[in-house]
């Protein structure tokens, strides 16, 4: 499969990338290419121009910011999985990244690309929602910060405007134990459904993978937990207000069942670890 022809420019900096994007309204950013290239091969995406930010060094870092862990948008899944700072301060992200695709995919795919692609079956967007993360975005108009809860607007739709580049992912400090579960028929498959749960300063937050058009908070579960209900009882509410897809791999009903079971397991992992300690992950 060969993509349609397109123009190609390599950006050396974020500023240069923004400049290139704004000259062409059908231009798209290219990061790791592991969502965009498959779409282009199918000609479901036909950009006129690709602005390659793959070599923009200023977007590849992990560092400690004031009250948050700062992760450059070009940080690859492989780095998230192995970086000591991520493992120590955002263990949930490291655990989730370890289970994305396969090693080859993890060597190319980036956290910024995963967010901007906006696929509800992706794992990192839900994990970042559970962690109450926010995203620093640059554009010709300057910088703005978008919080995870309002970033995803619909299937493959985000709050990003044309010309905006995600530069940094901010994960608030102070999260404690966590749990992450996803269910796949085969090791390399995407999640039929998945759950990320984390103990945060504002209580336990739970987010669902592939249970609607966007990553969803399991609000009923969170409310039950903060009302002091036992985890098993709260987990039974995981499918409330979800709208899971039905496709050849699973019915909507089966996905609801999975969400309840996996939430129970993820919450058990959150509970099992002492606050401030990492929970186990499957």
């Amino acid at each position: 499969m060969i993509p349609a022809e397109f123009g190609y420019r390599r950006a050396a900096s974020v500023a240069e990338a923004i400049g290139m994007l704004t000259q062409d309204e059908d231009a798209r950013l290219l990061a790791g290419g592991h969502s965009l290239i498959p779409l282009m091969k199918l000609r479901l995406a036909v950009p006129s121009l690709l602005v390659d930010i793959g070599k923009v060094a200023e977007l590849r870092y992990v560092s400690e910011g004031p009250g948050y862990l700062a992760i450059g948008a070009l940080t690859r899944h492989h780095t998230l999985a192995t970086n000591p700072l991520v493992r120590e301060q955002a263990g949930l992200l490291a655990a989730v990244a370890t289970e994305i695709g396969d090693p080859q995919v993890r060597h190319r795919g980036t956290i910024g690309g995963s967010l901007a692609h906006g696929d509800p079956a992706s794992d990192l967007p839900a994990a970042l929602l559970a962690l109450d993360a926010s995203y620093l975005v640059s554009s010709p108009a300057g910088n703005r910060v978008i919080s995870a809860g309002v970033f995803h607007l619909g299937f493959l739709q985000t709050a990003l405007q044309h010309g905006e580049v995600i530069t940094e992912i901010r994960v608030p400090s102070g999260t404690g134990s966590y749990g992450f579960r996803k269910f796949r028929a085969r090791s390399m498959d995407w999640a039929m459904a998945g759950v990320a749960a984390a103990r945060t300063p504002s209580g336990i937050r739970v987010a669902l993978v592939n249970m609607g058009a966007v990553p969803l908070r399991a609000a009923a579960v969170e409310a039950a937990l903060s009302a002091g209900r036992p985890a098993a009882e709260a987990a039974a509410l995981a499918a409330v207000d979800t709208a899971p897809p039905a496709d050849t791999s699973a019915s909507a009903g089966f996905r609801r069942h999975l969400a309840r079971v996996l939430t129970g397991q993820a919450l058990a992992d959150v509970d099992a670890a002492a606050p401030g300690r990492a929970g186990s992950v499957e």
């Binding site: 060969i2 022809e5 397109f6 390659d52 492989h78 090693p103 995919v105």
Partner: protein
């Protein structure tokens, strides 16, 4: 606007300076332009791993990388893994353990193993299985492949088998 991209890519130690169509995939550049047909195309959808090459030492699926993206990078294909006429230890282990039948998956499998052992020299059986999640083999049933990798993982040196 240019539909081509200038690239400088070091392939198997040799610097290539050329212009490629922007939409040319790395696997096509390697096979069609450089004649390095050891890299296979199985699925063309990032699933099978037959097109795996080393990009700056790490396994990637070259059917899902544009050649243009590899500018400034170093690519190793199966042809360049060991000097001509000799075998890389991973290739030798595959031969010794009968880890291939038709051989179609083998170049990608071998390079995925090289990458895996570079990251996890003491890979456990579970690490080996996970590390080969991205490579399909329709012949061997995987058991001899895992045996071959196990024979190389550090610590295996003590294993007389």
């Amino acid at each position: 606007m240019s539909l081509t991209a200038r690239v400088r890519i070091r392939v198997n130690g040799e610097l290539q300076v050329t212009a490629v169509p922007a939409r040319q995939l790395l696997v096509s550049y390697l096979r069609d332009d450089l004649g390095l047909t050891g890299t296979k195309i199985g699925c063309d959808t990032t699933s099978c791993g037959a097109c795996t090459v080393l990009l700056n030492g790490e396994a990637v699926k070259s059917c899902t990388v544009f050649a243009a993206q590899a500018d400034g990078d170093e690519v190793i294909t199966i042809e360049g893994l060991a000097p001509a006429g000799s075998l890389h230890p991973v290739q030798r282990a595959f031969r010794d353990e009968h880890a291939l039948q038709c051989g179609y998956c083998t170049p990608g499998m071998v390079l995925a193993v090289v990458s895996l052992l570079r990251e996890l020299p003491e890979a456990s059986d579970a690490d080996i299985r996970r590390g080969l999640d991205g490579n399909l083999c329709r012949c061997t049933g995987y058991t001899p492949i895992i045996r071959a990798v196990r024979s190389l993982a550090a610590g295996a040196a003590h294993d007389p088998g």
